[in-house]
Assembly symmetry: C2
Homo-oligomer: 478 residues x 2
């Protein structure tokens, strides 16, 4: 983006923010339409959209489908109370797995209210339809497919995946796509391909525990980047870290980040990609939640700004179509052959009936309709959940309102320890994900991740109320 455009975009963002904070624009007001504002300011529609996305991520605007942007008061919970994280400025070797496993294993009981779960409600997915399809898809496989569908994977499926990138603004060639057994395999393969043991990798703070575990088990070193619950990683900090350390790769989740729910504005993403390109540093992008946006369109992926083939964009159908089928991929840019080989080495290939059924499903053209329903359902569940949070959580608690996905980040009242709360909540039939499992340095002792993606029922509400009471009690007992 040329300098003038960046400037204009920042100006627009600042001005709208000021209007809202001053009360000139009030919650529920319709914001000027993109077209109108672009014309008035002599800007491109893209510039205005970038500004609106940032405003949305910060909780100032909220899109309604087909009728533009409206002023929101979500910034009151997001922007005012929550800060960018302040992680250690030194790379660290990790040791988080023990705690993560303890927490994950405790959470598998079906009787718990699943606020700690990493999965959304299984009722959201067309599992019956896929089960209907899988027999026919498997019967149609030729004897040769055992060989033909070896890495990089089934041709038809890869073509469908490449095609879908257009929606996120990226042009991706079929040749770049490597099919994997879920996104986590893709991410692990990418990390192995672009780094060596001992290398420094930039990660978010807090970050997905799968990322921490991969870095730990492969003997890489993590350097955490300050990350905001609204707008994601701080690109200025990335720039400084790059100049101070020999960073070999970044591993970021730029949309609806797990655990924060944060989404980087398009302009920040673009700046990030430019910055990394100049230094030749690969970006492993975890996009597993990117389809679950509540706004008017899919956030632009970092991949869409990549001109050097340095972005390895990892996706999955586990969060948007078929949990349990373990089908993912990576659009690996210049690393496609290396990833293909690494995949052959570590698991030979991905199950051919799974590749076949997802390829066939995507070919039918009902995926986008399903996604629209899914997004609506998640947004509705978020509304119920946040309204109940307002009712039942003590005043000292803060949380954000993610613009997509099904995970939010809540900061506990001072002095409440998240691990202790996790154990006490389990005893009351409630799971939650304590902050320290998302930290290379066991930080975030006063934060939890909550999942709002399960059906909203009287039982769920009662559980959230119990959790609120537990937090209030614990807080008062000190």
């Amino acid at each position: 983006m040329p300098a003038r455009t960046t400037k204009l975009y920042e100006d627009l963002t600042d001005q709208v923010t000021a209007l809202i904070r001053a009360g000139t624009l009030r919650c529920g007001d319709r914001a000027p339409s993109v077209r109108q504002l672009a014309r008035e300011r002599g800007a491109s529609a893209g510039t205005v959209v970038h500004a609106y996305e940032l405003l949305q991520a910060r909780g100032y605007l909220r899109p309604r489908s087909r009728s533009g942007f409206y002023v929101s008061d979500a910034w009151r919970t997001t922007d005012q109370h929550q800060h960018t994280s302040r992680p250690s400025r030194r790379p660290t070797r990790l040791d988080v797995s023990e705690l993560v496993f303890e927490v994950l294993e405790a959470m598998r009981s079906p009787d718990l209210a699943p606020f700690g779960s990493a999965f959304p409600g299984p009722d959201l997915f067309p599992l019956r339809q896929l089960a209907q399809l899988i027999g026919a898809s498997t019967r149609r496989l030729s004897e040769r497919s055992t060989l033909d569908d070896l890495p990089p994977g089934n041709e038809k499926l890869r073509r469908q995946i490449a095609r879908r990138y257009l929606a996120s603004g990226a042009q991706v060639a079929v040749e770049e796509i490597v099919v994997t057994s879920g996104a986590l395999e893709a991410l692990n393969l990418c990390l192995q391909v672009v780094t060596e043991p001992g290398d420094i990798v930039l990660i978010e703070s807090p970050s997905f525990y799968g990322c921490l575990q991969a870095i730990e088990s492969l003997g890489r070193r993590a350097l955490e980047v300050p990350t905001h619950p609204g707008t994601g990683i701080d690109v200025d900090e990335v720039e400084q870290l790059l100049s101070r350390h020999r960073v070999r790769a970044c591993w970021f989740m730029t949309a609806f980040q797990n655990p924060l729910g944060a989404t980087m504005p398009a302009a920040a993403r673009e700046r990030l990609v430019r910055l990394l390109s100049r230094r030749g540093v690969p970006l492993i992008e975890d996009s597993v939640y990117a389809d679950l946006y509540f706004g008017a369109q899919r956030p632009h992926s970092a991949k869409s700004f990549d001109t050097e083939g340095l972005v390895l964009d990892c996706g999955s159908f586990a969060k948007n179509l078929a949990p349990g089928y373990r089908l993912g991929w990576v659009a690996a840019g210049r690393f496609a052959q290396a990833v293909t080989r690494r995949k052959s080495m570590s698991s030979v290939g991905t199950a051919i009936p799974i590749q076949a059924v997802i390829g066939d499903y995507l070919g039918r053209g009902t995926f986008e309709r399903h996604l629209r329903r899914l997004r609506r359902a998640l947004q509705e569940r978020q509304s119920h959940f946040l309204a109940a949070m307002e009712r039942y959580m003590p005043a000292a608690m803060k949380w954000n309102r993610p613009s997509g996905g099904y995970l939010l980040w809540a900061e506990l009242p001072p002095h409440i320890d998240a691990i202790r709360l996790h154990r006490e909540a389990l005893a009351e039939g409630i799971s939650l994900a304590p902050g320290p499992i998302f930290s290379a340095s066991h930080a975030f002792h006063h934060a939890i991740r909550l999942n709002y993606g399960h059906p909203w029922t009287a039982k769920t509400e009662a559980a959230l109320k119990r959790l609120g009471n537990l937090i209030a009690r614990t807080s008062a007992s000190r």
Copy 2:
């Protein structure tokens, strides 16, 4: 095994060998029945069976189902001409992948005679039946299975797998079984669990390239054990290497080893396991071919002698039921929890429709019937193939007659380079697997692995004849 029994077993083996070499027992003669010999020598039936298995592996006896053992002349090609390998006695860091990938990628063309392939003919498997079953199996899955079938995996499937161990003489608890995405994933997970970067791992020489690649990519060091095409690794050598080096694990394929086709006699296996137990060294056992025996019964797995939980036995349905479904497992002994966690970390889980359909198939009880048909077919293909080898290969060539599986090992006439032959054969529409891809030190330049598991047709025969001519020509041109 007590000393007296070991002695008796060796005596028996030596005596029968002498009788056959002297021509007293001739090819086609029926050997004394196990019961009769046991009675005559005051030995247990087990001791005689051990001796007969060794004689079978060495090519002196051949079992016929339900009618005992017969004298074979396979030893003339096996024992006389082929030797135990003589690898380097120092641990090495590896660099084999480049060559392996070049070879494997060249071999994927459907127009080649698939002598280099690692897969048997797809016509051997009930793929249609599985395709019929997968829809119903997937439809029956509950919404909870996305969670329930996470590692260690689907309960029903794990129970079926544990049950099948009885046939190989091992008692394996369901709790030990971890479902994986194919045996290669299992083997990689085990290696990560029982060793650290830089650790020394004993492997066969030659060995499966997947093993070499895993050791290379995980930064372990390989120490090769001399291995015989008939009887597998030399346990005396293992003992010496253990006393000279800090060996952290072994990775062996004890039955129908890839690429040799070698099978360790039961007594050698037992001795190996005792030896490793005394020193607390884990054995990662790759048993993917173990079901494909031509003899009267499945070779006793090393697992069956394990009393310490130190044997991690890795299996798969890729070679005996469902290639392309990528379903494997490990019976991980005392390492089961560690493997489960490592699996969660690296790929979350194995696709649930795949776990479900294989579990259902095994529950139906037709697997053993399918296996009997499969073994008969492979043995028949081996006969055709070996008969044609006799006809078409130059006299200076030597090969073995494995007692199971679908891979044999052939030594080329002197001065023929296997890599060059591989390239020239490709040009004539024939694939083969050159020896150096199975070597940590790029050894075995004069050996090739041949696959006899594809349908025996006039086209196959013509291709083998062309290969024989090519070898003869190349040999003569020097």
